[in-house]
């Protein structure tokens, strides 16, 4: 997390991942793409996905948008998924994630500790290559602009209050 989140921040965008693990850098790449483009008051953060940091990043936010790469079997690299948790904590619904110690655990922990954001949106892109190295695979690189636009719609579009 680049800085402690300010209380009362209306929205936070969290890019999860590691730019030295190829497509795992998709989340950070989207956040980098969004710099200078998001409405005032929206915080942009990059994190490694460690649950305690995630909780600290989103606690108190009205809307938290997460962007992350996922491993899928079979994978369609670049395929996008969007999951929304309205008023998390009431439904018991949890996004399916390949992370054993990641988003799902962060959500579970935040629910137990009453630290969920008002609305949580998860954008996931299916990865092709999570090996060591820098640079996104072509399919995931091509999805970065699409993901950035989707995040902007979440922050500014008609569904923003939904």
């Amino acid at each position: 997390v680049t800085a402690p989140r300010q209380a009362g921040t209306p929205a936070v965008v969290i890019g999860i991942g590691n730019e030295f693990r190829r497509d795992d850098g998709a989340g950070p790449a989207v956040v980098t793409r969004l710099r200078g483009q998001v409405p005032a008051g929206v915080e942009l953060l990059i994190t490694d996905g460690e649950p305690v940091r995630m909780i600290e990043a989103w606690a108190g936010a009205e809307v938290a948008v997460i962007v992350d790469a996922v491993r899928a079997e079979p994978a369609v690299p670049g395929r996008l998924h969007r999951l929304v948790l309205h008023r998390p904590g009431n439904s018991g619904a949890r996004p399916v994630s390949s992370h054993g110690f990641g988003i799902d655990e962060a959500i579970g922990l935040a629910l137990a500790l009453d630290r969920m954001p008002g609305r949580l949106i998860v954008h996931a892109v299916e990865a092709a290559d999570l090996g060591q190295g820098v640079g996104l695979s072509p399919a995931v690189a091509a999805a970065v602009d699409v993901l950035a636009a989707a995040v902007l719609r979440d922050l500014t579009g008609p569904g923003q209050r939904g």
């Binding site: 590691n18 994190t47 996905g49 460690e50 305690v52 990641g102 137990a112």
Partner: protein, 437 residues
């Protein structure tokens, strides 16, 4: 469960360890005949990635090996490059480096104690389930972690991949006034750390002794954190520059990580050794600051600790130590005349070590006269501990063959978590699968 046939335990992803790993245990009849911990480790990639880059870059680049212990990577890298260039930090700059490292110890240990290790002792599958029933306990852990992160954010600029660290010191040094709120925060955290030590000291610990030789840093007069020379329980004493004469790394077929052993096979005769909290504590318990020493005594640790399951108690004592040390440094702090000492490159090889939360982290860099890195070597604690972990598992499983597979697998995972292995420090993907054949 019948034990008349062969059985195999295989966990393709280990829960609640940092990163990726797999465990393989094969039992034939009543004998454990194979134990493997498969690990997939990023430092080798970074060694290649660093070649051809400037001597100023390793602190930033290697910090990205691990989001849990970036300061360790930065510090060992800085030590090694400063050593190559003949630069030396002292006074407030050296103190600030120790202070930053204390922040990492507090944050990393709090995460491991509360989120990863304690659920094992209390019978929960994980921190989420533990939080549902012990919210106050988990909140205490999070408060401790935040205190550590506060140090890292103030000195490092941020708590993951700190950006304020540079070869020779910092880009900017804080004023005494800036450190004052940090001191208040740490004073508030101190009783939480003391409660933590009392809490974990009350857990039930399996009776288990680790016979391995121990390797840790020694920093005369104080508990080793960010610097020191190397010592072993077998009586070896050597400098960072001599590390590769004493520690041999070998490729093993089942892992991308190299296995380390002591040259000449050490005192125990098998070359296995252990680094990390138990080694640090056993070789340096006499150097703990007063409140940490008091907590260790209250927790019944004695001057040495060789039960890996009790590493959670040692970590709790080390959190107190880090808070005490941080408060001492802040109390004595006078801002340095400049935030960094000049570091002029030269053709040389430099060596650096520090005590990452998980154990000794060694870096070596070979520079040319223009400061370009010709070669890099990083030896992380987990690859050093891997042979010891596998040996622990072999003996641990052998004594528990009456457990059914599920219980045995779970016990093995707990035994692995004793070491807080950073199996692949820099990725958050983890699959958990249990196959029984």
């Amino acid at each position: 469960m019948s034990h008349k046939h062969d059985r195999t335990l295989f966990t393709s992803g280990l829960a609640r360890v940092e990163g990726e790993g797999a465990m393989y245990v094969r039992v034939t009849g009543s004998r454990v005949d194979e134990v493997r911990l498969d690990i997939y480790e990023p430092p080798r990639f970074f060694e290649a990635f660093l070649r051809g880059r400037s001597y100023t870059e390793p602190p930033d680049i290697t910090a990205r090996v691990c989001g849990i212990c970036p300061v360790a990577y930065q510090t060992s890298a800085c030590h090694a490059i400063e050593d190559a260039c003949g630069a030396r930090l002292d006074g407030p700059l050296a103190d600030l480096r120790r202070l930053l490292y204390c922040g990492e110890w507090i944050g990393s240990h709090a995460l491991h104690i509360y989120m990863l290790h304690a659920p094992d002792f209390l019978g929960y599958p994980g921190a989420v389930e533990m939080a549902a029933e012990h919210r106050d306990v988990v909140e205490r852990g999070l408060a401790l972690r935040r205190a550590g992160n506060a140090i890292m954010e103030l000195l490092g600029g941020r708590s993951i991949h700190p950006v304020n660290v540079r070869v020779g010191g910092f880009y900017r040094a804080p004023s005494a006034a800036e450190l004052a709120p940090l001191a208040r925060r740490l004073r508030d955290a101190l009783p939480l750390a003391q409660d933590t030590a009392r809490w974990v000291a009350g857990f039930d610990f399996p009776d288990f002794t680790c016979p391995h030789e121990l390797l840790a840093l020694s920093d005369p007069g104080r508990y080793p954190i960010e610097r020191g020379t190397l010592v072993t329980s077998g009586g070896l004493a050597f400098t960072a520059a001599e590390f590769e004469q004493h520690v041999i790394e070998e490729q093993v077929p089942h892992s991308t990580a190299l296995h380390a052993r002591l040259a000449g096979n050490g005192q125990a005769g098998d070359g296995r050794y252990m680094t990390g909290p138990l080694a640090r504590y056993t070789l340096n318990s006499g150097s703990l600051p007063p409140l940490a020493a008091e907590a260790a005594a209250e927790a019944g640790l004695g001057p040495s600790c060789r039960n890996p399951f009790r590493s959670i108690v040692v970590r709790a004592v080390e959190v107190i130590c880090a808070i005490e040390e941080a408060l001492r440094i802040i109390g004595e702090y006078r801002p340095p005349a400049r935030p960094a000492v000049p570091v002029t490159p030269r053709a040389a090889t430099g060596y650096g070590v520090s005590e990452a939360p998980r154990g000794v982290l060694y870096h070596r860099y070979e520079l040319d006269s223009g400061g370009i890195i010709r070669s890099a070597r990083i030896v992380p604690p987990t690859s050093q501990n891997q042979p010891a972990i596998e040996d622990d598992l072999r003996r641990f499983v052998q004594a528990r063959l009456d457990f059914d597979d599920a219980r045995l697998t779970s016990a093995c995972e707990q035994a692995i978590r004793n070491y807080d292995p950073c199996i692949s420090c820099s990725t958050h993907f983890l699959d958990l699968r249990v196959d029984r054949r």
